[in-house]
Amino acid sequence: MRGYRELLEKEVVELWRTYRLGLFCVLFIVLGIASAVITRYLPELDRLLARPGEDLGLEPTGIPDVVDFLVRNLVDFGGIAAILLAMGAVAGERSRGTTALVLARPVSRSAYLLAKLVAIAMTVGFATVLGVLGAWLWSMLFFELPPVLPWAQMAVLVWLAVLVPASITFLGSTVFDSPLGAAGLGLGAQVLFVLASATPTPSPLLPTQLAAVARGAALEGFDPGVEPPVTIAVAAGIVAVSLGIAWLRFRRRDL
């Protein structure tokens, strides 16, 4: 894996200098804080919108509602942001000619690919930690002190859930010449997963079930039908298989 360290360093600096790392973190922080703030003020907003004297029968909101909102927001919006982040990783650099400049040197193609995917995973991970931390702090202010370890587990699971569309898009970026083709593959896979899980009892084999697993981890209790080991293994498998296929495709590709 000659050149991996230098390439990873370059990827991280590029993500920082081109503001993608910053924007990604800001998005996740906003989503995290908004989850707590909206949960806190949602009943009052509903009451404001109700007709005078009308009883909406609202129950008080709490930490479980914050977790629900947070996981859904980070997985859905974060997933789309991850697709945008990964779509040009290889295809964009290849079309600009930078890939040829780098790989004409004694650098292995596997190091090139791995450095890019690790940089994306690091960005998603860093942003997820900040987003969850924001939600945790505001939940502490509005409700009560959320448990640290279950929330940390939730953060890891959200990271994995966002990494799934990112890795599929990354695969597309090595297969297609255009970043748009890569984004199409990532979005297409997301739509398929969502459609497949739109049943009363979604299969634990679907990576979309990671949201339910993350929620259960934070609340220390899983809904019936949720099988964390199976869902986590499948999601991790999708990431690994995407990288594997990307490598098989890229190592034979003319640049």
């Binding site: 600009r96 930078t98 400049l101 780098v102 004409a104 292995s108 003319d254 640049l255």
Partner: protein
């Protein structure tokens, strides 16, 4: 090092049904400067990309300094190489210094050697003043120079350049040519171009590539004499047709003059003996009473040269 710097044997590259490189054989000696001359689409860029392991050969073999080149592998061969692509995709967000440091680092240049290498390369390509500016802020000719510098910074044993002068302004072109000239005998240089002027005076060997086949491989001097004799282009002051006919008739009697073409008031005079033509052409024309507005020396156009070359590729050529 024993053996040639670059050895290409039976190299074939196909894209679907079309053949971009057709069973090429070539050997480039250590320290040689080889020009690969060919029109657009002749396969020059593909050949260089295969040699530096960016594209996979459909058949045949390439070695660089005795190391086999393989696309996606062959790191030992790529350690010996510096490559200047036709359009170097320099990372826009880096400074020029960071580009050179990053790519030198990938080529294995170690810490203490890094700064002197960068400074020396930048000085030779007149880049010292822009080292701390971002690539996105640099004009195209400066980027062109940086594109050459990134290949030279690791002091490679073999340098592959694909149309390296294309983006350069005249001043930078002179600097880059002088730099390549200084490498003569110490490093092996392969320069792909569609301009004969790039090869002339710089490359001691030339390989003419046309539709994926070599039409000529040999000494540049021999090639120029045999297939691209010089042409003197004279701009005559506006004058009557009879006067120009007189000039053509006069030149037709000179043993050193070849074919004379008339395009308006421009004469293109092919010459057989350049030294004599340089001495006698202007007096001969002025002697007919026609005034000369300008004169320059040129070479025939590439398509005209290709039309005069033998059609078949020679196997087993060496440069």
């Amino acid at each position: 090092m024993d053996g040639p710097a670059i050895s290409i044997q039976g190299l074939t590259k196909r894209f679907g049904k079309s053949t971009a490189l057709d069973a090429l054989d070539l050997e480039v000696a250590h320290g040689a400067c080889l020009g690969i001359l060919g029109p657009a689409g002749s396969g020059k860029s593909t050949l260089l990309r295969v040699v530096c392991g960016l594209a996979r050969a459909s058949g045949g073999a390439v070695t660089v300094a005795g190391e086999r080149v393989r696309a996606g592998d062959g790191l030992a061969a790529r350690r010996q190489l510096g490559y200047v692509p036709q359009e170097p995709g320099l990372p826009e967000w880096m400074t020029a210094r960071e580009v050179l440091a990053f790519l030198a680092d990938l080529s294995g240049v170690e810490g203490p050697d890094m700064t002197p290498r960068i400074d020396d390369t930048a000085r030779q390509l007149v880049l010292a003043d822009v080292l701390d500016r971002r690539v996105e802020d640099l004009p195209a000719p400066v980027r062109g120079r940086l594109g050459i510098a990134q290949a030279l910074v690791a002091d490679p044993y073999v340098l592959l350049l694909d149309e390296p002068f294309h983006w350069l302004d005249p001043e930078a072109r002179v600097a880059a040519r002088a730099l390549l000239d200084r490498l003569r005998g110490r490093r092996t240089v392969v320069l792909a171009t569609h301009r004969l002027a790039d090869v002339e005076g710089l490359c001691d060997q030339v390989a003419v590539l046309d539709e994926g086949r070599f039409r000529f491989v040999g000494e540049t001097r021999h090639f120029l004499e045999a297939y691209a004799p010089p042409v003197f282009v004279l701009e005559l002051q506006a004058t009557g047709g009879l006067a120009i006919e007189g000039v053509v008739a006069r030149l037709g009697r000179e043993p050193w003059a070849g074919e004379v073409k008339v395009i308006g008031t421009t004469l293109r005079v092919a010459v057989r003996d350049e030294a004599r033509a340089a001495r006698e052409l202007l007096p001969a024309v002025i002697g007919t009473g026609v005034a000369i507005a300008g004169v320059r020396r040129a070479r025939p156009a590439l398509d005209a040269i290709l039309a005069g070359l033998p059609p078949a590729a020679k196997r087993g050529a060496s440069a």
